[in-house]
Symmetry: C2
Subunit: 381 residues, 2 copies
Amino acid sequence: MFEFTVSARSGRARTGTFRTPHGDVRTPMFMPVGTQGSVKGISPHELLDIGSQIILANTYHLMLRPGPDLVAVHGGLPGFTAYPGPFLTDSGGFQVMSLGHMRKITEEGATFKSHLDGSLILLTPERSIGVQESLGADIIMAFDECPPYPASHEYVRNSLERTLRWLERSLTAKTRSDQALFPIVQGGIYHDLRAVSLQATVAFDTPGFAIGGLAVGESKEEMYPAISQTAQGLPESKPRYLMGVGHPEDLVAAMALGVDLFDCVYPTRTGRFGYALTDDGRLNMNSSAPRQQLMPIDPECDCYACRHYTRAYLAHLLRAEEMLAPRMLSLHNLCYLHRLVERASLAIASGTYREWAEEWAARYFKGNVPAWFTGAIQNVD
Amino acid sequence: MFEFTVSARSGRARTGTFRTPHGDVRTPMFMPVGTQGSVKGISPHELLDIGSQIILANTYHLMLRPGPDLVAVHGGLPGFTAYPGPFLTDSGGFQVMSLGHMRKITEEGATFKSHLDGSLILLTPERSIGVQESLGADIIMAFDECPPYPASHEYVRNSLERTLRWLERSLTAKTRSDQALFPIVQGGIYHDLRAVSLQATVAFDTPGFAIGGLAVGESKEEMYPAISQTAQGLPESKPRYLMGVGHPEDLVAAMALGVDLFDCVYPTRTGRFGYALTDDGRLNMNSSAPRQQLMPIDPECDCYACRHYTRAYLAHLLRAEEMLAPRMLSLHNLCYLHRLVERASLAIASGTYREWAEEWAARYFKGNVPAWFTGAIQNVD
């Protein structure tokens, strides 16, 4: 269980398979986010249709409502949500920081007021793991602090040291053998602190590792060296999960640096706002041009929306505030990211990842490929 | 084309098949409403899965946005919406009355201000038929006035006489032979006026007829005699469409009186509000009990929601305001009405409609079957 097999490499990019109790996950893979136990508007079978292989659910939200016990009596997330494949749950830490009110971090854990009813809640490594065991995901995350950006060197050092102590407590609290616990490497954008976090975290030899504390406001020029350093410092034989990253250009750049797993609300959220992801960049379906266009969102896409609907129809639904529009754009965007990692996998398998990424970027960026992207796919640190 | 064949009778209730250019419609049938060219949140293939056979779309809405020309360049509603079966469009008259501002009715037509941009629009029989020809539904409706309730005898008489003149103009304006135009019998709750409208309308010998002007605020005791009188006065050899009626108890009662087609926003609207239709009455999924129930909405239902989800999960999604909840409840409610008319058809085919309806009602009304229902299924006028 939790075996990771690398099947091909192209530069640092690689393809592989991660075995979990609910099925294999072929990497690189993007994980749709089902915050409250549902990928907004999309049914489990629509996810399977577009090639989803693992869904992320949020411990913070599900802990507050409906509560872990109700999910547990359903046999965990697959029984609760009817998605029959693997899940990953986060630790709740990140959302305590971003959503909880009046949060206070101590050695014990994080105290916050629920955004739902204002009740005071203490989330500790032990509680996070307990809740994640009730939720029953195949991959669970160590309880950590994701420091804000910007944060001082001293703040980040103290934070990552506490996160390491919380990692030990998380591993000690864990009782189920059918869940893989991934620790999270922190260190912000500080090279020396990343190195400290990396060295201490890798020592735990867990079935996989996450790269955390990024995509929180720093520039791409700050983010990519940190991704590169962390991915390179993680063992070749374990999957690497870059948390909270899901823009197409970031997937292509981070895969070049050896990242295997991604998650982000971006494809579904931007879809609800009327934007569609394509190889030509993000298409604004709220603008006037699509209202008269009889072509699909993306003629190269085989999702339900692209097989059945014109841009004109979907633009009409958006203006009319019909639920089918955000639903279809979310579905398309998820499908786009799934196809993107699939195309990347083919390029990796044929040993031509950099060439493929350059070609993809030339079209996506309309000729203005940013330096951070070129640096990432050329593995320039 | 537009042949109607009655296949079985039980009392006045009957089953039949109505042939249209986009496929056969087996009656009795409930038509889901796709107001703006989309049954809210539901994809065409989900409609086919639950047994939908014909979809209603609203001329008023589609005329204002996106406009009939855009639908026409898609080849009409099937091409625009990707629902491959038959459609019915209303004439726009009813919604001019209920949604248009500052409406004024003259012999020429109805003038109103668009609820979207305030522009002044004149809808005439000729314009309504022109728009409906662009939309391309298999069944189109004559332009009529649906008088408000209450309305004086004099008002209703003048209105129905104008509606008859508008019917002649509607038929004259019609140019497409692949669309069936249904006239609408009016007369409010006045027996003598219904008789006048009936006699004059039936004379046109169209492929089907509608019963209009009901379910607009009158009591069941006023509505059912009017349905009974109108249905009995319409030819046996043509389908009868009772407009805007879609509560389960009304379907069962009106089928007993010989009604073949129904439409209503009720199943989707009440679903979006968190209510589920069942043989035990309407289940309020917003209440506290379903939050802990591990059973499906309706153990006898085979819709996607009932096959995959517990009440507890759907109640959680409702509270969390997740789009999947209104979507799944809408789907279930439509499926419930489709199964209801299917069960009715089986009872009709076996000549036991009244017995079936009595048994259904005993459970649905929890023993308190109202007199109007009993009167209707016993065909007591």
